[in-house]
Symmetry: C3
Subunit: 221 residues, 3 copies
């Protein structure tokens, strides 16, 4: 019996990916609004936060135009998140961290896992014939870039040092989840299982870091 | 009777595109000089302001190397604008806003329209055969990136928050012109007419915003 | 008699390229540590400083995924440099400028020359058949971007105006070396000779500038 269309893995993955896009757009838009930006600035920052990481990933893979520019659902979701901030900023601002932070960790986990999977799947056609696959280490790095790249752009555009360079275990959680995904897929395990395990690793590390106040040590004394 | 070469649309478009490049180079170079940069820094900022947006557009389209790296007239024009600033900074600084701002608005309009047209024309070859065209919304976004991307890079390199995120209706004017262009071309209207209409829409909105002191409202109270 | 594998030019070039990568990683990591970043931040900045310029060059050439994502030795070297900083920051910080600055100038020279050579070698396949080669001026610009791009990203991420826009003759030395390389290769001289001459020009200009305290004049009085 065929799987009905709406339950096929690609559709499910896209739906979850869009959910992550919406969460990051809300979060980026709220940061921009709090920084005093106008309506247009809030929409731009929401968009960049939500899709910037994926754009960098696709440009680095050579998969251009990036997925965001091929499927209009992504920009609509990103701008939709920004418009929600514009319309009901007070309500968005009132969402307690106990709701926001797990949502953000979930979006981070998802983007890390999806990004790593895209990098593992990518094959570069060589001029000599044949194709080249990326090492799992580099696929894990690209997954991390997918997950944190939008936030880095948000912070640069708002004039600050990117939070991930200063704050608690965030990109490290993404890297761990992306690495589990890349290694798992390369060793031929079940795709659904690997993606779920990678996302869980990222989410759990991030939530533990928040709960326990983990911080990496500074290098200079 | 054939159109003489110098009047052909592509040549005309390139000439106007180069004029926009020169204006943005002058404007970027003057900003850099006023910020205390040395000769080299002024040339770099002039170059980045003039061609940065087009480079990002072409990288996102996958049209690499970007047009700027294929036609040496673009970098020569951009560096030429920077050298004019170096040579006669006082004269450039003395140009009154009543001349500079309409010139800048004209360059903005041109870049938005040309960028949107390039995005509309672009076809992505698919591995499955056939090709994909970009939705008009995404083509309009890429046109806007072409128009404002160089200025964003200028502001980031000079250490500030990009002006377009804080100031009056600027990127919105570019977006309006790019959207008119993308929709017009997709619905099959006369190319010359569509480009002229798109540029006019952008230019008029920008000049009205300057004249009337339009500003978008802030989101946070 | 065949040249033994370890002495072949491509292997030699890669070895020297990796040496430059390591130097820039050490230098970037030490800057990040001194700025108070944590272990992860130091690794990120070391990585970006070491490979950022090459990534931008390859993206602009359309040679994606960039070389850094094809050969795992590059990221390992870059992260290795960062780990050295983490492990023995005090020792790294104690290296006197009389050692560090010539090493940095050597890495700059190497990256400028390798980057320009890659740009000169690159051919863009045209849809009409045939291929396009890049003008020597644009190849020289791409070589300069290779050499200084990582440092620009380091400074932007650490929240400052890029040093090359403010300080003494640095990018100009890279541009001179890259231009010598591009012109030399285009006029068909011996490859080894051209690369050596380009690197020497860059290194000597940079060291003379440091020794004599050369600075370019500011444009604004």
């Amino acid at each position: 019996m065929p799987v009905p269309p709406r339950l096929r893995p690609a559709r499910l993955l896209r739906a979850v990916d869009l959910a992550g896009t919406g969460i990051f757009a809300l979060q980026g838009g709220a940061t921009a609004a709090a920084a005093g930006l106008d309506v247009f600035g809030v929409l731009v920052i929401a968009f960049v936060t939500a899709v910037g990481g994926g754009i960098v990933r696709d440009v680095l893979l050579g998969a251009t135009p990036p997925a965001v520019f091929r499927d209009v659902a992504y920009p609509l979701t990103a701008f939709g998140g920004g418009l929600v901030v514009v319309a009901i900023f007070r309500l968005v601002q009132a969402i307690p961290p106990s709701v926001l932070l797990p949502l953000d960790a979930a979006a981070l986990a998802l983007f890390a896992v999806v990004g790593a999977a895209k990098a593992v799947d990518h094959r570069t056609e060589l001029a000599t014939g044949g194709s080249l696959r990326m090492s799992w280490l580099l696929a894990a790095l690209l997954g991390t870039v997918s997950a944190v790249g939008g936030g880095v752009m948000r912070d640069l555009l708002l004039g600050g040092v990117p939070l991930i360079l200063r704050s608690d275990v965030y990109a490290v959680a993404a890297l761990a989840g992306a690495a589990v995904t890349a290694v798992g897929l390369r060793t031929g395990r079940s795709r659904a299982l690997v993606l779920a395990a990678g996302a869980l690793v990222c989410f759990v590390i991030r939530m533990l870091a928040l709960w326990q106040g983990w911080n990496l040590p500074r290098v200079a004394p």
